[in-house]
């Protein structure tokens, strides 16, 4: 595997790969999101208890799932950055942090808009909601640490350490609804037995979840490529691309 990965240690190869992935995945993600949202919002049947309000799930669930997924990949990239001491890994952590923060913010806001009509409150200090809020602060912290040192490499190292430490929060978010009594309901699709959601409601949700993954990869590639260009701006291969 290392032999196969080896060429991408060279920044110009990594840049080319990220650029190509971005160009392919970006339209795919948009098409998927459009299909999934249209299907979910217009054609999926309404819920027996929540009628149409449950449709906010088609935005809320993908955002919430990937807010955790992005954090895990950011943490793993952070470990790689500290172990191999490669600038590319540090830049990928920097690329993922704001995207994850936006996903988390979307999950929190849509959750709030869902909570008001259904639960009767915008916010409650429930284990699930609180740990998701902590996740948002972790993302912001990682992003802020990158720029809080005069030496870029020192900032990156500190940010990677925070990214790794914050991974502890991810299983806490996921299991919070099982470990403690909470207002938030349990997992519907990420559990081992059959999903407790009707098939015709599940399909658009799965499409949206998958498209959000593609969107995340595409945006990460885009940001990563840009950061790579900026950090290598004095190199020959960059001047060649810019011209």
């Amino acid at each position: 595997m290392f032999k196969w990965l080896h060429p991408y240690a060279k920044p110009e190869r990594a840049y080319a790969l990220a650029n190509r992935l971005y160009l392919w995945l970006w339209p795919l993600a948009l098409i998927g999101l459009f299909t999934g949202s249209l299907w979910g919002l217009m054609f999926a049947p309404s819920d027996y208890q929540q009628s149409d309000s449950f449709r906010i799930m088609y935005i809320h669930v993908p955002a919430a799932i990937w807010s955790m997924g992005i954090y895990m990949s950011m943490g793993i990239a952070g470990i790689c950055a500290l172990v191999w001491q490669m600038r590319s890994f540090e830049l990928s952590v920097l690329a993922m942090a704001p995207i994850g923060a936006v996903f988390t913010a979307i999950a929190l806001f849509t959750g709030s808009f869902w909570g008001k009509p259904m639960w009767g409150t915008w916010w409650v200090w429930d284990a699930r909601l609180t740990s998701e809020l902590i996740l948002l602060f972790l993302y912001l912290g990682v992003f802020a640490l990158f720029y809080s040192f005069d030496d870029k490499r020192a900032g990156a190292k500190a940010a990677c350490i925070l990214a790794i430490i914050g991974m502890i929060n991810v299983p806490i978010i996921h299991y919070s609804v099982e470990w403690w009594n909470s207002l938030h309901q349990g997992a519907s699709i990420t559990k081992f037995d059959k999903p407790s959601i009707a098939k015709e409601m599940l399909w658009p949700l799965l499409i949206n979840i998958f498209s959000c993954l593609l969107l995340f990869i595409a945006l990460t590639c885009y940001r990563f490529a840009t950061e790579l260009l900026a950090s290598e701006s004095h190199r020959k291969w960059v001047t060649k691309i810019i011209q």
Binding site: Q50, I79, P117, G120, N181
Partner: protein, 162 residues
């Protein structure tokens, strides 16, 4: 022979393991306080692990299912009284105010209020909890015999007779 790379990797893993242990111990110690609510049986019999019962006058949250046929409404005011249960004991909740749309008999709710005697809670906030099952109304009727009725058309929530 351990390379520098391996050494860094093991250091990170050791740090992470230590931190994970610390956090899990802290959460374990705090677990009672992280619970959002007491269940009715915990109010009557005390918490499972410690057996501590909440004291009268204490501010607390209680969560459980609304008992079928227990909802009583005052015809002139917004006062409503109902019982909640989880597995056995029932606790009465009185509340004055507007209930959330999802509130109906058999529904899970969380109420925030004061314990006024051993099995009565005077609530100042009632929140509805919904479960993780989503299905279209026809399927729900076929599977569970639940017919979706809009709260405004539900006789049990209108007149006061259960």
């Amino acid at each position: 022979m351990i390379t520098r790379r391996q050494k860094r990797f093991y250091t990170i893993m050791a740090l992470f393991a230590g931190l994970a242990l610390t956090v899990s111990l802290v959460l374990y110690a705090l677990s009672e306080n992280i619970d959002l609510f007491y269940t009715p049986s915990e109010i009557i019999n005390g918490k499972n692990e410690t057996g501590i019962k909440p004291s009268i006058g204490q501010r607390l949250r209680i969560g459980g299912m609304v008992v079928e046929g227990s909802v009583k409404r005052d015809p002139d005011t917004l006062l409503v009284e109902f019982k909640v249960t989880d597995t056995g004991p029932e606790v009465t909740i009185s509340y004055e105010g507007i209930l959330p749309d999802l509130f109906r008999e058999g529904q899970g709710i969380v109420a925030n209020g004061h314990l006024i005697d051993s099995n009565t809670v005077e609530a100042f906030e009632v929140l509805a909890k919904h479960d993780e099952e989503y299905m279209p109304p026809e399927l729900a009727e076929a599977m569970k015999g639940i017919k979706h009725v809009k709260p405004s058309e539900n006789p049990a929530l209108q007149g006061g007779q259960p």
